[in-house]
Structure formats: C-alpha cells, structure tokens
Symmetry: C4
Subunit: 206 residues, 4 copies
C-alpha cells in the first residue's frame, strides 16, 4: 500500500521548522543609546533571562512535538478530511506557540507571572488535546493505518498522549500558586515524551 | 508519464507554510510599562480579539487554499510558462494575505471596519480568480493533465472554483453594510471547499 | 548517472521561498491613533504605493530567479566546492534582496529616489554576475553536467545570462537620470527571462 | 540498508534555510524623517557597515555549517534518541545565531566591541561542541553509520571538528584584546572547513 500522507508531512515539517526558528525574533537587542559599554550590555542581557528561558523551553517543546508528529505519521498511511482538519489544528497551535512564549519572556519576572505561565500552559493543553484528537481519528479506522500495526501499539500511542492531560491540569493549578513549578512540569513531560516515544517505536518493530 | 511538477509543488508548499506561520507575528505583546499586573494583561489580550479572529480566519483560509492547491496539482502532470505564471500569481497573493490580515486585526473594531473587511474580501476575490485562471490554463490542454482524467472531473473542479466568485461579490457588498456578515461568508466558503474538495477527489477515483 | 545535487536544490528552494515570502513584512500597517476612519486608511495605503510597487517587483524578480535556478540545476548533475560556493553566493544575494527593496519602498517617492533605484539595480547586477559565475564553473567541466547535453544548449544558457549584463549597466545609468526607466528595464529583463528560459529548455529536448 | 534519517535531514535543512534567510531582518532601514536626500541615505548605510559585516559573516557561517551537516548525515544511516537530541541541540544553536549577530551588528563599532565579539565567538564554540557531540554519538556505534565506512574516514571527520576547539579558544582570548582578529579567525576556520570537508568526502569514496 502506498503512503498517501507524504505531502502533508512535508508541509507540516515546514510549519514546525518555521515556528521553531521564528522564536529567536523574541530575543530583543537593546537600543543603541541605552548601552554605554560592555558591562551595560551584559547587565541588559542578564535581565533578559526570562526571554532566554522561554526561548529554550519553547524551542525544545516544538522540537519534541515535531518528533512525535513524525512518529504518529509513520503509522498513518491514508488520509481523510478529519485527519487533515486535526493536523491543521495541530499546525495552527504550533504556529501560535510563539505568542504565549513572547508573553512569558516579557512578564514571567513580575506581577503578571501567574497569568503568563497559565496562558503558556493552556497552549500545551490544547496541543495535547489536538494530538489526542488526531490519533483518535486515525486509529478509529484501521484502514488508515500502516498495514500490520498491532492493537497493542495503537493503545500504547493512545495512552502515551492521554496521560499528558491530567499532568497538564496539575501544571495549570500550580501556575496560580508557584509558577516555576508549572514550567518544570512542562519540561518534565517533554523529557518523558522524548524518551518514551523512542520505546514505542521499538516495540512496534517486534 | 512522469510528473514534471514536483519541484513547483515543493516550492509552493514552502511558500504556503511560511505565509501561514508568519501570521502569528501580527499578535502584539504589550510594552512592559503598559502592564502592571495579570489583570491588566488579560484586559489587553481581550481587547485584542480582532487580532485573534483575523489570525484564526487567515490561518485556516491559507491552510484550505493549500489543500486545494495540492488537489489541483495532483491532476497536473506537465507544466508550461502559463501555468508557472498562474501559480506564481497564486503564491504572490497568498504571501500578501498577511497585509489585509494585519489591517483587519488593527481596524476591524472601529470606524475603518468596512474598509478593512472590504480589502480583506478583495484579496480572496483575487485568489479565487487566480485559482480559476490556473485551472483554465491547465485544463485547456488535456496533455498537461493526469492521464485518464475524465471530462466530468475537469468540469467539477472548474465549477467548484467558479461558484466562489458570485458569493465573494455578495461578501463585498455586505462589507459596506454589516462587515461581520462578510467574514462569515468567507468562513462559510472555506468550510464548503474543505468538505467538497474531498468529494471531488473521490469522484475522480471512480 | 545519479543526480548528486538534490539536497542543494531543496535547500536553495527553501531559501528562495523564504526570501520571497518575507517581502510582505515591508508593507507597514499604520499606528492605530494615526487613523480615524476608513478614508484616512485608504489615503495612507495610497501613499504607500512605492511599497506595493517594490513588493510586486521584488516578488516576481525572485520568483523568476527561482525558475532560472531550477532550469540551470536541471543541467547540473555533479557538484564540487566551486559550485557550492557560487550557489551560496546566489542564495546570499537573493536573501539580501529584501534590504534594497525596503529602501526602494520607503524612498522611491522623494529626494533619495536615484540612490535607492541605483542600489536596487546593483543587487540585480551582482545576482546576474553570480548566475554567470555558477554557469561558468559548471559548464567548464562537462563531467558535472547532465549526460548528453549539447554544446549549443550550454552556449545558449551562457549567452542568455551574459546578455543581461550590458542591459543592467544601462539601467544603472538611467537610475541617476530618470529612475523609473531603470525599474522598467529590470521588469523587462525578467519578462524576457521568463519567456526565453522556456525556449531554452525546449531546444534542449531536441 | 535503508537510510532512516531522511525526514530529520529535511527538517534540519528547513531550519538552516530559515535561520540563514532571517538574518537580513537585522539590516535596518532608516526612518523617513531622518533622511533628507540621497547623500544622507548613503551616509546612513555606510555607518551601518558592522551590520553588513555581521550579516555576511553569519550567512556564510551558517551556510558552511549546513554543508558540514549535510556531509555528516551522509555517513549516518540509522538514528536513536541520542542523535536526535544532539541534532536538536545543533538546530537550536543555529537558530540562535541571529541574536549574537544582531548584537555584533549594533555594538561592534563602539565601547561594547569586546563583549559582543566574545558572545559571537561563544555561540560558535557551542556549535563546535554540538557537532563534536553528534559525531561522537553517531560514530560510537558503527551500526548507525553508512555500511562500509572506514575507520580512517570516521577518525578524519572526528579530527576535523575537534581541531576547531583550541582555535576558538584563541579567538575568544583575542576578543578581549583585538576583537577584529577574533572575527578573522572565525572566518579563517570556516574557509578551512569549506575546503577540507570536500577532501574528506573524496577520501571516503576510495
């Protein structure tokens, strides 16, 4: 059976690549008259640490999302309108990540800290829901999937994304209380997915 | 017969992907001294609702345009200068969408509402004309098309895009009267194309 | 013989696609307090006509450069460091086009008109030289080219780009005298290349 | 053995292409009321020479990094989580290059010169370390590499990137003393890699 999803994957890859590379535009260079010498510049850059934190967190978040997108589409062979729509929703949310990232960069270090961390967490909740939706729509009809995929593998991918949801709700609650904990939970989830998605693939090869 | 249009499709995909991902740059982050706390930030973001509306509408518009571009080029196997030019015109208009989107984002909620909705509608009229031109130039000479394509399929694609024109004229008229109706018509057309283009493809497989 | 240049072409396509799509960022949206109603907005947009002219001219210039790049690389099968360097130079200049475009957009309608048109012409002189260099380096050693390419075809491509040089010098001279004539010459050359490169390809198929 | 790394290479190519093309956004166009005539504009552009220097240096740096990335991945056939991570790190650093470039553009010509050259050198130190890490992780297990690759070829690539490290340390030391020398060392290293990587490839074909 021929894989029908190659051009969708190419287009999605391009959107992920652009979204990830545009993030650097949120690192701001100070105006020339605000800086007198090298020490001034270093102080300015040090004070920008939330921008660097947000840049790093969002870069690797989108990168791992791309890895997962790649893994899911290796199992999808045919497409229908529902899959196109769910994938479009993922791409929309991925391209939108740069907005809460910019808010986090500018306001994490101040009074609006809880609000920006909550908004930043929400975008990942939505992305998690969109990935769940994509896999639900694709796995509902085994004719769309890679021939020979086992039920165990389908369930494993399903659980892998579903488990994210309650953890994001915990991160959301923490954002109103100790915002830095929310960011650490988000980071932890991505590390978990980076490691576990590798295992899924291997188990499928058996 | 070998398909000659692969590099054109790859280039077009990249332009669509960049155009769709650059839209997020129109969501503005408030200056640091304009925001004192989280509530200020939420009020600022709420007041930006036309920017979010414009972002969502343009993202999915370009995404569905890409799907349609994909569907049309699945039927085109050879190319000539006329097809290259018509495709270049489509890419030009697609890359330009972000300008009326930015105008809509900033001025939909105010006195200039009718003007920005009219400009926003015009760009889609032009894009519709460019798609009609592309299909007219390609289908005029059946040697350029996929071997074995039926006349019924050619006519169906033709009608599908032609029907859009009178509806856009209605949207243009509404823009001077009740601008929100124009946006709803544009949204409705994209939903129609999202659903109907799937059907075209299926009917071609018969 | 296997074609070795596919990943170079893919990378080049991406740079062309991004360069062409970023041009829209030079169309500026007026600040909210500068515009009271729809008429104000239309006046603002009308006064921005040099920006639209520059956008259109540069978009189609880069688009036709891409078509020509495509045509040249269809004849190149192997690569060496010299070709990589010449191609890198082309990509550098293509990505730089947006800077003289932005200058033209902002200053064509004013005292600095001659200077911006001259700078805008210079970038195309350099791009023309880089294309000549690429084809000189590639065609010098027929082992790098498509097997079976005729000497007539090699010479035809060579002449096609070489003829551009004296015409650009004329455009440069006009820029100090009647700047609009320079832009029309640039436009005319691209139309010539758009049409003639099609003929080259056909003559090669014989 | 089938090559498993094609989609990684495609994604990486896109990130390199975007990173290289976004650099032009750091060339600033003066505000309209700051420029009265053509001479003013030329003076403004001349004073911007550090921005042009930074643009050229970073463009060709990223371009040669891409060439090297291409050469390394021609030797890698399988992938694991470690290679994915090391490649993600390279892409992160490549996308970040535009920030020290913007700092160099704005502050090379002034009091903060040493600081910006040192920061600009640091990013290349990190990129060098990331390339070393990628090749260390890939070459540690010969099952990941192209079948038939010789130990001499593996060692040659290894040494090629390792030699960069002490030279970058020298560039770093010079940045506090004569900053322009650091930039010349960086330039020299890229020229060395541009030339030597060609030789590696040839020696591997034997």
């Amino acid at each position: 059976m021929e894989k029908e999803t190659l051009r969708i994957e190419g287009f999605s890859d391009a959107v992920f690549a652009i979204a990830v590379t545009l993030l650097v535009l949120d690192l701001h260079v100070p105006e020339k008259d605000a800086i007198k010498n090298g020490s001034d510049l270093l102080v300015y850059i040090e004070n920008q640490w939330p921008a660097f934190l947000a840049f790093i967190l969002s870069f690797f978040s989108i990168f791992i999302m791309w890895v997962n997108h790649h893994k899911i589409f290796k199992q999808i062979y045919s497409r229908n309108s529902a899959i196109m729509f769910a994938n479009g929703l993922i791409l929309f949310l991925v391209s939108a990540v740069s907005y809460p990232t910019a808010l986090l960069a500018r306001y994490f270090d101040g009074e609006a800290s809880s609000v920006v961390v909550a908004l930043y967490t929400w975008i990942f909740v939505f992305i998690n829901l969109a990935y769940n939706l994509l896999w639900f729509l694709a796995s509902r009809d085994k004719k769309l999937l890679r021939p020979g995929i086992t039920d165990a593998a389908i369930r494993k991918i399903h659980n892998n994304y579903l488990y994210g949801l309650p953890i994001y709700v915990i991160a959301l609650i923490f954002s109103f209380w100790i915002p830095i904990v929310s960011l650490m939970i988000i980071l932890g989830l991505w590390i978990f997915w980076a490691l576990s998605s590798g295992k899924i693939e291997m188990s499928m090869k058996e």
